[in-house]
């Protein structure tokens, strides 16, 4: 079953490119939507079903494994991918660019699905690369100067990450004689603090920190998020960075290294610095997408703080915030796409009072902002609460206080965003602005609904996930 998550997008990719683009435009859009949303629905029902869903499979020689953690990522990528497809259908103007966008989204889907289901360090690295290459091209899809600049920064830092990860893999192979997670775990446990094994772990962690855009390796992220086309920003911020960096890190920690005290210290430090740096850098940004990009660094810092607690509660909270961040940040980028499309600018100083003419975008953006700031009873509140609880219960009081204070800063810059863009009296030159197209409004409503639903029905959701 699990190999279908790789083969279906691959076969669809081949079939779509066998026929002329013009004839395939509508079919390509709806089949891609079906693949993304079908994957999300399938993973959703698997998570909430009572099936025993640990299915190791080796059909076609593809050693893929299907567990709840994998399903969690499969669901998130399906959901965010479907949203990005809808936004792309509206915001990408040229037919050939839309067609290329769909193809590259399918390649990304193969990459992320691979990341979700592999149990081998080299294969994990390979699928991270598949995702990265598709993403580079997606960012540069419209070939303008800023996009090329953004993608070059991402590419250069990704090459550094690749070098670090490959060096780490070579060291692991030298010691363990294999790269499967169980073999690596046994080698790490038997190493007794060997310098080279520790170096291998440190190198791989640094590589993943770069991929995840965490402090101090975050230099590429604001430019890449800002320069990318609107739909690509949704996909990039919603899932790509988190899958390549954060999810791969979670898999690496839970399956290979475990949570030893030095690793927890590194995670806590990197997490706290990312939370604070991202939040402080987001203040005063004029470009709406750049502000959201810095905010993403901060929110990913929270996820790392949860992992740094090293307990079951911490890991649960980190993954829960992973999902919530995909929802509210994906949605905020959808709102940014709607505003950019209607106003023709991303400069917040040129906006004001847009909620009057764009009530759905304004309301959904407010809900997502409040969720990001951790205001009850929205979904973001619960995940942040559990991260802070996990930190407090493990005696990391300073980090817990930093997390609370950074949340106040988050509330501050998101309220500033709301005030500048949506609140108040509408500017004269913006009086003719209308609500965005259904392709942008619908995903914003769906993501808002999920944010509110998860927040209000949190006890039920938690019970089902933990089971």
């Amino acid at each position: 079953m699990s190999y279908l998550f790789i083969l279906v997008p691959f076969l669809l990719l081949l079939i779509l490119n066998l026929f002329p683009q013009r004839k395939m435009e509508a079919i390509a859009f709806w089949t891609c939507m079906l693949v993304f949303s079908g994957q999300a629905l399938f993973a959703f029902f698997c998570v909430f079903s009572r099936w025993n869903i640990y299915w190791p499979e080796a059909l076609l020689g593809f050693n893929l494994y299907f567990d709840r953690l994998a399903l969690f990522l499969l669901f998130t990528v399906g959901l965010v991918g479907a949203v990005a497809m809808l936004v792309g259908h509206f915001t990408i103007k040229y037919e050939h660019e839309r067609f290329n966008f769909k193809n590259l989204m399918l390649v990304s889907l193969i990459g992320i699905n691979g990341i979700a289901m592999v149990r081998d360090l080299f294969t994990l690295y390979l699928f991270i690369e598949v995702t990265a290459i598709a993403t580079f091209i997606l960012i540069a899809l419209q070939r303008d100067r800023f996009a090329i600049e953004g993608v070059l920064k991402y590419l250069i830092l990704s090459v550094v990450a690749t070098t670090l990860m490959l060096s780490s893999i070579a060291l692991f192979l030298l010691f363990a004689g294999g790269l499967s997670f169980p073999a690596l775990r046994a080698a790490v446990n038997a190493s007794g603090g060997n310098f080279l094994i520790l170096s291998a772990i440190a190198l791989f962690l640094c590589g993943l920190f770069i991929k995840g855009g965490l402090f101090p390796f975050h230099g590429w992220l604001p430019d890449a998020y800002t320069a990318a086309p609107a739909s690509v920003s949704v996909f990039l911020a919603g899932i790509v960075t988190k899958a390549s960096g954060i999810f791969a890190l979670t898999r690496f920690l839970t399956s290979v290294t475990g949570f030893s005290p030095p690793i927890k210290s590194i995670l806590l430090l990197v997490g706290a610095l990312s939370v604070v740096t991202g939040a402080l850098a987001a203040i005063g940004q004029k470009d709406i997408k750049r502000m959201l990009a810095y905010s993403s660094i901060s929110q990913m810092g929270y996820i790392i703080l949860g992992l740094g607690a090293g307990t079951k509660l911490g890991i649960f909270a980190a993954l829960f915030h992973f999902l919530n961040h995909a929802l509210f940040k994906g949605q905020l980028f959808v709102n940014a796409a709607a505003v950019e499309e209607q106003v023709g600018s991303r400069d917040m100083q040129k906006m004001g009072g847009l909620a009057q003419n764009m009530p759905i975008t304004g309301t959904t953006a407010l809900l997502a902002s409040l969720s990001a700031a951790g205001i009850p009873p929205l979904a973001g509140f619960w995940s942040k609460l559990f991260i802070i609880m996990a930190l407090w219960l493990t005696g990391n009081y300073t980090y817990a206080i930093i997390a609370v204070l950074a949340s106040v800063i988050t509330l501050g810059y998101f309220l500033a965003l709301q005030r500048q863009v949506f609140f108040g009296k509408i500017r004269e030159e913006l009086c003719n602005i209308r609500e965005a197209n259904i392709y942008v409004v619908l995903p914003a409503v769906i993501l808002s609904f999920l944010t509110v639903f998860i927040g209000l029905c949190f006890p039920l959701v938690m019970r089902l996930i933990i089971r």
Partner: protein, 160 residues
Amino acid sequence: MNIILVLLICMALAGLWAVMTSLLLRAAIALALTSAILTIIMFRLGAPLAGVFELSVCAGLISVVFISVISLTHRLPLQEYLKRRQSRISRFIFLPFILLAAVIIIFFIHKPILVTLPAMGTITEVRSVMWDVRRLDLFGQIMVLLAGVYGVLILFKGRQ
């Protein structure tokens, strides 16, 4: 002097040339040369299949992709090129000192690393590993190449 050591120094020099040269075509050739020297090292270390892969994929296929992409770019005007070359050279002014410091550090902290290397596999075993155990990796590599070529096509096709 050990022949491997000589080859390693040559490989490092070719790598440096790839990074420092201001012409893309020369950089691609230098990279192919680096891969070719690495292939010789792999053959001398008794890993012929890895050598063949290195030669065919890195020195061969990747160079073809690079040169195809470079053929789609335009040359800078001579004045602009000379100006940029001058500024490039100034960027590497500290490189000799960094390299010297690295050599000194490695010389002083160099210690033999005690690891038990796995037994050398036969070519048949390597093929079996590649095809039977690591088939998903082959698929992943195909996807990487496919995405790369697709990217080149869509980013450069019709570009003025």
